[in-house]
């Protein structure tokens, strides 16, 4: 039995990571406190990182954890802590709960029915050479250099925008303080 387990370890791990991601995502919709929702999302992202690792794209998994969990979600947790003082009371769901659930069902059916057909099997197995970080960086800076440059421009723009928003916020607060 251990052999069977070991031979199917890949699949087993994949399945558990998949269920984990799905379960944490579903939890997000149900939990009341935003901090717990953030934790659920972080868990989901970690499970996804696991899936990426199982697929063989290790550097994507690393980026997932570093950037998504490590930067984005930390920022989000920080903001939650900044804004939340007391228990969040009041209605949990909007008026569109039932239409939302109905829409969920329909969209899910549409998406899955559309793509549920045997896809051509992967040309490479796990850990394909094309997915090493070396190959990736070479391709990124060679073939897709324009995207690389555009990305940097985008980042600069984002920094400028963030500064502008801060200034607006300060002016607004300052104006109100004076007025």
């Amino acid at each position: 039995m251990i052999e069977k387990l070991l031979s199917n370890l890949d699949t087993l791990l994949l399945l558990s990571c998949a269920f984990g991601a799905l379960g944490c995502a579903a939890l997000m919709l149900v939990l009341r406190q935003p901090m717990r929702v953030a934790m659920a999302l972080i868990s989901s992202m970690l499970f996804l990182a696991g899936i990426y690792g199982l697929l063989g794209v290790h550097f994507v998994a690393a980026f997932q954890v570093l950037i998504y969990v490590g930067a984005v979600m930390v920022f989000m947790v920080y903001v939650i802590m900044l804004l939340e003082v007391r228990e969040h009371s009041g209605p949990l769901y909007s008026r569109l709960l039932l239409p939302g659930i109905a829409g969920l069902a329909v969209l899910l059916v549409a998406l899955i029915a559309g793509i549920w057909r045997p896809l051509p099997s992967a040309a490479h197995g796990t850990g394909a050479s094309g997915y090493g970080i070396a190959a990736f960086s070479v391709a990124f800076l060679d073939e897709y250099w324009l995207l690389f440059e555009l990305t940097s421009v985008l980042l600069v723009a984002a920094v400028v925008a963030a500064l502008a928003v801060i200034r607006v916020g300060r002016a607004h607060a300052g104006g109100r303080a004076h007025g």
Binding site: M28, V57, Y68, M76, L108, H124, T151
Partner: protein, 100 residues
């Protein structure tokens, strides 16, 4: 069902859950996090397809999605902060100035 189908199904499910989360939840920050969930679903599908086709372009696009997600959150949070400062609540039901 093989592995690819499972992952694609998972990606679709994550995306739908994220979208429905935006529709259903009232808390502004929770809605933002659901949008992140949507992006994750898309990422998963991109990675799956990329690995299946064997080219590097898929990985490049995934990387760009990371960058865009970062920028998006970097700007969305301040906007939400300003909104909250104006409305003094995190409940989306109060943000209906654009009605009509």
């Amino acid at each position: 069902m093989d592995r690819t189908q499972l992952l694609i199904g998972l990606a679709a499910a994550l995306f739908c859950l994220g979208l429905v989360g935006v529709i259903v939840r009232r808390h502004v920050l929770v809605m933002l996090m659901c949008m992140e969930l949507m992006l994750n679903g898309v990422n998963l599908s991109l990675v799956t397809f990329a690995q299946q086709s064997g080219t590097t372009v898929g990985a490049v696009v995934v990387f760009l999605v990371f960058v865009v997600a970062t920028i998006e959150i970097a700007l969305a949070i301040p906007i939400v902060l300003l909104l909250v400062r104006a409305k003094r609540t995190l409940d989306l039901g109060a943000y209906n100035d654009l009605k009509g």
